[in-house]
Amino acid sequence: MDNDQLEKQQLEDKLRQMPKIKDNQSKETLYQKIELRLHEKQEHRRWSWLVPSIASFAVIGLLFLIVQGNMNRSYQNANESYSEQASTEEQEQSNVQFDQPEGIEEKSSLFSADEEQEKREITNNNQGSSLIYYKNVDEEKLFTIAAVDKYNNYAIPITLVDSSGGSANDYYNKINRFIADKQEALGLNVFPFDGLSFDIDVKNKRATLIVPESYRFPDGSSSAYVFEQMATIMFKPYGIQKLNIQSPDGNPVNLGPFGEISAIDIMLEEKHIYKIYQYNEKEPLLVPIKTNTDDTIEAALKQLKIDEPAFDVKGPIPEDASFDVVVNQDNLSLHFTEGPTLADDETTIMMIEAILMTAKSFNFDSITIDLPNDLDKVGKYRLNQTIPVPDGVNPNILH
């Protein structure tokens, strides 16, 4: 037996000798607690119909009053509102390119021609291994879809890059088909979208999910949480405020843990930090993690040092690194004073890309980074120079 095998054998023996931990509470005490909880749940269920029933009566009553009050007014205002709506639509049509996420349009116009050129140069070089994506040409369309990590804990965005002219409905109605072939390599689960259909009107910022009667939403509060995160990832870039949910004949739907609903809100104000998700040494991905809305960018960046080993998530900034943060209008500057492991390598590239996405979520347009060594670039990113925030994350280039 060589040393390597001996070391492994010794470790396995030690693991087998780990102590038996005993529960010291008595069987009787435990049963009393369980019995209490079983009764609590039954009691709760017995009266639980009362709350929705009272709420339903109250809503019906309110609706009756509102509809009556509005009937007369709506006749008076009909002509006026029609003309207002027409002019707003015209204005929107001239501002928003069809099927183009608004955020991307707005950001592009904030950079000068030189910066745009530089941005494209950054990306043209070795785009394939990057966790972020910059549009190469304006005609390129980006659609961000979402998958789920193996622990059903985080929604993970994937930006589809398309230059063939497909529409949002084409892509959002085939989400799992785009993930299926990479699911294994990336360590992802797919959400059961089969049977559901999306109707997305990008121009008017409207999204509807049509749920057939036979559809069964997965059980558990974590599925509901992940679904909300996925909806936010997919529709926030279009400025869509809510995802309407309805049956094929237009009625509200009983959606598992949500109960009966007709829409869920898209969390437009939500801010995220981005860490590295890498399941069982498969390909790494950037995963957005919700922060408190009142968190400062400094507080958010500090959280990038924290690993979450239970969920195969790594904090992209090394624990032994120190940095100062300067906010200069739309630019976020990070000056690293310490960081012995920072180098021109993949880990540091991923750190920069995670910081870029975090900065984007906090509405910055660019970042500047300098490291405590003599490097002037890390991968394709030039240090001490402005790096614009990217257009997409975890790209999947289709055409």
């Binding site: 070391e7 492994k8 470790l11 396995e12 030690k14 693991l15 087998r16 000798q17 780990m18 102590p19 038996k20 931990i21 005993k22 529960d23 509470q25 069987k27 435990l30 049963y31 607690k33 369980i34 019995e35 909880r37 079983l38 749940k41 193996k150 622990y151 059903n152 804990n153 558990g220 974590s222 949480y225 399941y279 069982n280 040494e281 993690i289 919700k290 922060t291 408190n292 009142d294 968190d295 507080a299 500090k302 959280q303 924290i306 979450e308 080993p309 239970a310 969920f311 195969d312």
Partner: protein, 169 residues
């Protein structure tokens, strides 16, 4: 219902407690999780169809309940994060405070292994606990974790390598 509980308790309780404790590393939390497990088990015991062994079924429920607990805890921590400057510090204090007697009396090497176990991913940690500490077979571990035998082997291999790497430092 009490008779069912007593039978399950007599046959499996200490093993279940041990599994949950090694996952969450806190006695009070392990007790709370086990209450949830029994509530779920007693409510669905009639529908247990014997497709897997009773023990595997119980451990599978314990596994899901523990993972749900981690998710809830994570969300709570996210919401409270502005109250704590450093999550890692908070976690360390909690870890030290909750050590049971059986762990406190271990020698240094065993304590290091116990601490290193927490650096593994959830899947790796589960495989180590089920295979080495609970002595489940590979097939039983795969049944509990609802995954393939090859995935159990891969996780076991990676977990052992990870632990060796940590312990060499």
């Amino acid at each position: 219902m009490k008779t069912t509980f007593e039978t399950l308790y007599d046959n499996y309780h200490q093993d279940l407690y041990q599994y949950v404790f090694y996952m969450v590393r806190n006695q009070e939390e392990a007790e709370d999780i086990l209450q949830d497990v029994y509530v779920k088990v007693l409510k669905s015991y009639q529908s247990f169809r014997g497709e897997s062994s009773e023990k595997t079924w119980l451990f599978s429920i314990a596994r899901h309940t523990t993972l749900d607990f981690f998710r809830k805890q994570k969300r709570l921590r996210d919401r409270m994060s502005n109250l704590f400057s450093n999550d890692t510090e908070e976690q360390l204090i909690k870890d030290e405070a909750a050590l049971p007697e059986e762990i406190v009396v271990l020698d240094d090497q065993m304590k290091r292994i116990y601490k290193a176990l927490n650096k593994c991913s959830n899947d790796q940690k589960q495989v180590i606990i089920l295979r080495y500490i609970q002595s489940f077979s590979i097939q039983e571990t795969a049944d509990i974790m609802s995954c393939s035998i090859s995935k159990v082997k891969t996780n076991q291999h990676r977990a052992i390598n990870k632990l060796r790497k940590i312990l060499r430092k």
